[in-house]
């Protein structure tokens, strides 16, 4: 029989990125929610982690956050669901979380439970075959359709799951779900849809819960919130004693990190929030009605994220104080660039200068054109296929600032100040090569499910 209402606890907007605050978590856990759900990924962190298959969140923080949820969920005997494991949702991150769950189960002597996992990585060969069959992999956000060349430049691809693998896992009676890359909101929506609630309210529930306490005020991250769904509405309540979910905070969150606050796209349909109505239900709770879900006509599309390596990278740091050099900073940099080119003609490399004190933060978007600072800091970034060349590019590009040939310079003993006499190795440079969608016949096509018993 369908529940009249369903309550889902969300402890953190990005599990492990900064540790979950325990106080509000346990306040929420004591109310015995029906599900514990959390997303652990983001594309905010740049293409490096996906490309190099690493996490940016420390291992111990990730384990800490999983431990809170696992212990509370198993004590109550309710499901725990994680999406986008380990920042990127690659297969290795899913495996890492599975091992953490096993270790934690042992540590807490948990009774045996069913663990369902799914992978989200997509083999390049699969996409290549689709493209050869004439299937268009369409670009998002102004990108053109994927070319064979862009596909080849990509090192790792994840597909973003919708609700489908999570619902499948719940149908298999999962106690704990550890998912690969997934839409943040889909984790929560899947639980509600599985329990029989309407899609519109279910997707909205996911949308409002995905960033945890970011939908509450005052601004405090990593605090727990609980969302409740019925057939008619969604309500969301802050668990921290000093936080409230207000109309303003919930509406404000609808805008966060998205270009349009009225629509949210999922594999299978669009959540339309244009006619949402917001009411203050009690001091800490806002009630939302009026959301609509419009299923996508025709075939379902799945979003793909891909990252490819550009090269090895070094960073140089250079200070400039001479007002004459500051006035002529472009000429100084042109000189350094010319010296790199003279030493490495025809070699493949990229060299960038961020000029702090001029436009180091905003680059071309900076409307302030004149330099108002009495000193500048140049961050010199050199990228090349090998470490040796990247280091040399960066070193020449930095050191030649010191030797810049300007006709009237007074400081003939050197025109740059160095913190260290050398350059720093930096993580390799990657690029988002894919932000695309691919049509599929089966929304489960890219998501392989595995079932095991733990304990």
């Amino acid at each position: 029989m369908q529940k009249k209402q369903l309550r889902i606890l969300c402890p953190n907007g990005h599990l492990g990125f900064a540790p979950t605050k325990e106080g509000s978590f346990w306040i929420g856990a004591e109310t015995k929610p029906d599900y514990y759900c959390c997303d652990s990924g983001s594309d905010d962190i740049g293409p490096g982690p996906l490309g190099s298959d690493t996490s940016v969140s420390p291992y111990e923080w990730q384990k800490h956050d999983l431990e809170l949820m696992l212990v509370a969920a198993r004590k109550q005997g309710v499901p725990m669901m994680i999406g986008s494991s380990g920042d990127t949702g690659t297969n290795s991150r899913v495996d890492m979380y599975v091992q953490m769950i096993r270790d934690l189960a042992k540590k807490h002597h948990l009774a045996p439970f069913k663990l369902v996992t799914f992978y989200s990585e997509v083999d390049k060969a699969v996409l290549r075959r689709k493209m050869e069959e004439g299937i268009i992999i369409q670009g998002l956000d102004g990108r053109k359709s994927l070319t064979a060349g862009e596909l080849e430049k990509t090192d790792r691809i994840v597909a973003m799951s919708g609700v489908h693998p999570f619902i499948k896992a719940l149908e298999m009676e999962a106690d704990v779900i550890i998912g690969g890359r997934s839409s943040d909101a889909a984790i929560f929506a899947a639980a509600a849809i599985y329990e029989g609630f309407p899609e519109a309210q279910s997707y909205y529930l996911g949308k409002v819960l995905e960033c945890a306490s970011f939908c509450a005020e005052p601004y405090m991250a990593k605090e727990t919130v609980i969302g409740t769904i019925t057939d008619q509405d969604v309500t969301v309540t802050a668990m921290h004693p000093e936080q409230r979910c207000t109309i303003a905070s919930v509406v404000g969150h609808a805008m966060y990190e998205r270009s349009n606050p009225f629509y949210e796209y999922f594999a299978g349909g669009t959540l339309d929030m244009t006619h949402c109505n917001y009411e203050q239900a009690d001091e800490k709770t806002t009630r939302i009605t009026g959301m609509i879900f419009v299923p996508t006509p025709g075939e379902i599309t799945v979003k793909l994220e891909g990252a490819g390596k550009i090269g090895e990278r070094f960073i140089g740091i250079v200070g400039i104080r001479d007002p004459y050099s500051i006035r002529n900073i472009n000429k100084v940099i042109d000189w350094a660039r010319s010296q790199v080119e003279e030493r490495l003609p025809g070699k493949e490399y990229q060299l960038f200068y961020n000029i702090y004190g001029k436009n180091g933060v905003m680059g071309d978007l900076e409307p302030v054109k004149e330099i108002r600072s009495h000193e500048l800091c140049l961050i010199v970034e050199g990228v090349a296929p090998t470490k040796e060349v990247a280091e040399e590019v960066t070193l020449i590009g930095s050191r030649q600032i010191f030797y810049a040939r300007l006709p009237e310079v007074k400081g003939t003993a050197g025109t740059a100040a160095f913190v260290i006499d050398g350059v720093l190795p930096a993580p390799p440079a990657y690029e988002w090569t894919m932000n695309h969608i691919v049509p599929v016949d089966d929304p489960m096509e890219f998501f392989q499910i595995h079932v095991t018993t733990v304990g």
Binding site: Y256, L365, P367
Partner: protein, 142 residues
């Protein structure tokens, strides 16, 4: 007419990545009447933003007046995806400061518009939606 800087009128002015290829800007007002004033004053339009950031209008992917949130919101395409070599702001969160000094025409105190309630007005479509969401319920049962 007198003017005031946006920084004096808005509660929140922020920028942040919207996916890997865009940066989105939010200007949120505490009071409905101030929001309406800024909206009507047309000091923030696609054209004005294109001028302020010196970008062609094609780089503005969205421009939205978000009444329920008392907010004006616009989004720019990035030149290169976030975190590419040469990146200056990987999260896109320090691109808003030029907005702080935008001059907004304000009427003298006598002419000030009366405050309106901040909550979104009730919409007759709500009734219809409830019906349609109930219709889909059976299908979703698993």
């Amino acid at each position: 007419m007198k003017t005031k800087k946006l920084v004096e009128l808005a509660k929140t002015i922020r920028s942040k990545n919207a996916g890997t290829d865009k940066v989105t800007f939010d200007i949120i007002f505490r009071e409905k009447d101030i929001y309406e004033l800024v909206k009507k004053g047309k000091a923030l339009t696609r054209e004005k933003i294109s001028k302020l950031f010196a970008v062609p209008e094609e780089r503005i992917s969205d421009f939205v007046e978000f009444d329920p949130g008392n907010a004006i919101k616009f989004t720019l395409y990035r030149k290169r995806p976030s975190g590419s070599p040469g990146e200056t702001d990987i999260f896109g969160c320090q691109q808003y400061p030029p907005l702080l000094d935008v001059e907004i025409p304000v009427p003298s105190p006598k002419q000030r518009v009366k405050p309106q309630p901040a909550a979104a007005s009730r919409d007759p479509r709500r009734r219809r939606q409830r019906k349609s969401s109930q219709k889909t319920k059976g299908k979703n049962k698993t």
